[in-house]
């Protein structure tokens, strides 16, 4: 252990002496790690607890499920309890039914004899286990499979269209000289200033007029012409040498072929960054889908989650599990592609 500690906390180049700034650094980093991951981990842990366990205070760290057993003469498996009987003995009994404060119990080994126990004198027998029903039930019964599908559809389509239209525009803006090019560029930069929240009302009326209200395309189309995407791709395409294009023209390649077969493959790194960004953006979108989609079967995961979490009687065991489902793609991006995003932000300052 001490050797592991020594390895982790050894300071490079400064010998073994610990300065107070080292202690402050590691305190901040460890506290930060707990604070950044802790809340999400707590949510994941809670999502495997049943509703009864979620209502408990103080909450337990690990998820438990009540043990059940098959008892002769009963169709369903019965829940097990540790019961203290009137004579002071403690036995493991299965509950048949509960009437008021009285619990009718039976010994699994001796199914003939029924025992009445006050509910104050019994405590559930639990083992560590996962309440997987939290995941299965809302997906099947509460439309969440639909929401999931809608989210996947919106994210995929929006990302594909974003990549295509943005890269075409970037190609035109980086490889052609034409009148008004600077004006178009300026326009694109200028609209970086116009966030969606500023044009909600007129955008809604445009979407309404184009018949896209209550359609997933009404969510997809307004988001795809991202100025950041065009900007990012254009900056990258400027670094592709024009000689390559000229050589292709010599070989009678059409402009479309030059775009599709030369420029796009060469711009792959920038396209990858934009694709990752676009997936995260579109997956996480909330305000706009909330406004455009009013039919329940069209909700995306984010809107569906918000709706169910806003009900008077929140069914937290479902909400928590579905929040975890909503987190999955983003966690995958974080684990495998985080490096691309962080370099993208550090390089271009986009988000």
């Amino acid at each position: 252990m001490t050797r592991i500690g020594e390895f982790l906390f050894r300071r490079r180049g400064h010998g073994g002496r610990w300065h107070w700034t080292d202690i402050a650094t590691w305190t901040w980093l460890i506290l930060g790690t707990v604070l950044m991951f802790g809340p999400a981990l707590w949510l994941v842990g809670s999502s495997f607890k049943g509703p009864a366990q979620l209502a408990e205070f103080p909450p337990t760290i690990l998820p438990y499920v009540q043990e059940v057993t098959e008892v002769e003469g009963y169709d369903k498996p019965l829940p097990l309890y540790t019961a203290t009987l009137e004579d002071g003995t403690t036995r493991t009994l299965a509950e048949i039914r509960r009437i008021g404060t009285n619990s009718q119990m039976v010994d699994p080994a001796n199914p003939g004899e029924k025992i009445n126990v006050n509910i104050a004198n019994r405590s559930p027998l639990r083992e560590i286990g996962l309440a997987t029903g939290n995941y299965v039930e809302p997906l099947v019964a509460n439309n969440f499979v639909l929401f999931l599908w809608n989210s996947v559809f919106v994210t995929t389509m929006a990302t594909l269209i974003t990549l295509l239209t943005n890269s075409m525009a970037a190609f035109a803006l980086s490889k052609y000289r034409f009148r008004g090019r600077d004006a178009v560029m300026l326009l694109i930069v200028a609209t970086l200033m116009v966030p969606l929240s500023v044009i909600l009302v007129p955008l809604y009326s445009v979407v309404n007029a184009t018949g896209l209200l209550n359609s997933l395309w009404g969510v997809i189309l307004p988001t795809v012409a991202t100025p950041t995407g065009v900007f990012l791709l254009r900056q990258y395409m400027l670094t592709i040498p024009d000689e390559l294009l000229e050589a292709a023209r010599m070989d009678h390649a059409s402009e479309w072929q030059i775009y599709w077969r030369i420029v796009l493959p060469l711009a792959a790194p920038a396209l990858a960054v934009l694709a990752i960004f676009s997936v995260v953006w579109r997956w996480n979108d909330f305000l706009w889908p909330l406004i455009v989609l009013s039919k329940r079967e069209l909700y995306t995961l984010q809107v569906g989650l918000n709706t169910y979490a806003g009900e008077l009687n929140v069914q937290w065991h479902y909400i928590l599990a579905m929040t975890v489902v909503t987190m999955i793609p983003v966690v995958i991006v974080f684990v495998f592609l985080q490096r691309f995003i962080t370099t993208g932000i550090a390089g271009a300052g986009i988000k």
């Binding site: 300071r11 809340p39 075409m168 012409a225 479309w256 996480n284 989650l305 909503t326």
Partner: protein, 336 residues
């Protein structure tokens, strides 16, 4: 293995390749008519079309909406009222007391948003600066810790809101900690001050990783020899920080400040999911006011919402111009 991956990759993009081939002949014909240069218009068209319909047209229409009244959504059905909506929003006897204003909700939202921005941006800059300074040190596992602070940035606002609602609820983790420490548990989100503080804390938690990255990039761009020279002269670390680090980080710090301001003014999603604007109106922010007056309330008033969003947009435009100017200056400095 590489062969298999390539084959799979080709198979996946096969439909796209087919489509790209299919559009080549008509585009070739077009190119013959307009020449190479005319193709620029073809490449620009899709993006520009979508952009015009869903950004430029709404931008212009927004002004039109802000000068009409009524509850209809079609512009044709809406009577022209001139600057009436603006007058409604701005009319106030005492601007420090929203209750005396004609649109008291609007002024409550403005006040809340202003307070939110002041506290959140200060907290954000301080926390992300400290984190960036620490990550810039020569520590083990630096890229791991850089990723750690970035994790919440990727989470959706709805997920962020729900994670913290779950922690701050009556039987939540925070109350567990309070009880373990021997303190009284609280229903955090039912308290005006705690709920307000929660929106600040949670949004800082969710976005600080982004600003940390920008500052870290700035710190790494500071030439090493400056620090080496300071070390030779045995300059005390505090002085190194105030005389070298902070002035050279200045441009990045300014960009972070303005970006945080721009995004702070627009705060909506995570706060909305966390508190729903409550308790009462203590966490009602501007975007939520616009959303509710335009879409969610019983009496929809698109004109009022449009006017409010134009006022907010004006603030954002000023902030963005400052940001563009600052990042230009930062670029210029780097080039020199």
């Amino acid at each position: 293995m590489a062969g298999l991956g390539q084959t799979l990759g080709r198979a996946a993009t096969w439909p796209l390749t087919l489509a790209a081939r299919a559009v080549d002949p008509p585009l070739r014909a077009w190119q013959r008519r307009t020449g190479t240069g005319g193709m620029a218009a073809v490449f620009l068209a899709p993006n520009l079309l979508i952009f015009s319909v869903f950004v430029l047209v709404p931008l212009v229409l927004n002004f039109a909406y802000s000068m009409t009244g009524g509850t209809g959504i079609l512009l044709g059905q809406r009577p022209f009222v001139g600057a009436e909506q603006y007058a409604r929003l701005l009319e106030c006897q005492d601007y420090t007391r929203p209750i005396t204003c004609r649109e008291d909700q609007f002024w409550t939202a403005v006040g809340n948003t202003a307070q939110f921005v002041i506290f959140q941006v200060s907290l954000m800059v301080v926390v992300s600066l400290i984190t960036a300074l620490i990550l810039n040190r020569d520590i083990r596992g630096r890229s791991f810790f850089r990723a750690v602070f970035f994790f919440p940035v990727l989470l959706s606002p709805v997920v962020v809101g729900l994670i913290w609602r779950w922690i701050l609820q009556r039987q939540g983790l925070l109350n567990l900690i309070m009880v373990k420490l021997g303190l009284e548990p609280e229903v955090w989100l039912n308290d005006r001050v705690y709920a307000f503080a929660a929106t600040i804390g949670v949004s800082t938690w969710a976005h600080m990783g982004f600003y940390t990255l920008i500052l870290l990039a700035g710190l790494q761009a500071i030439p090493r020899d400056l620090y080496e020279a300071a070390e030779m002269d045995a300059t005390p670390p505090g002085r190194v920080f105030w005389r070298i680090t902070l002035p050279l980080l200045g441009p990045n710090l300014a960009v972070v400040l303005v970006l945080a301001l721009i995004r702070g003014v627009q705060i909506f999603d995570e706060a909305y999911v966390l508190t729903g604007g409550g308790p009462g109106t203590s966490t009602l922010y501007l975007t939520q006011y616009i959303y509710e007056s335009g879409f969610a309330s019983l009496l929809r008033e698109p004109g009022l919402a449009a006017a409010a969003s134009i006022l907010m947009g004006a603030v954002l435009v000023v902030l963005t111009l400052i940001q563009l100017w600052l990042s230009r200056r930062a670029e210029g400095r780097k080039a020199r």
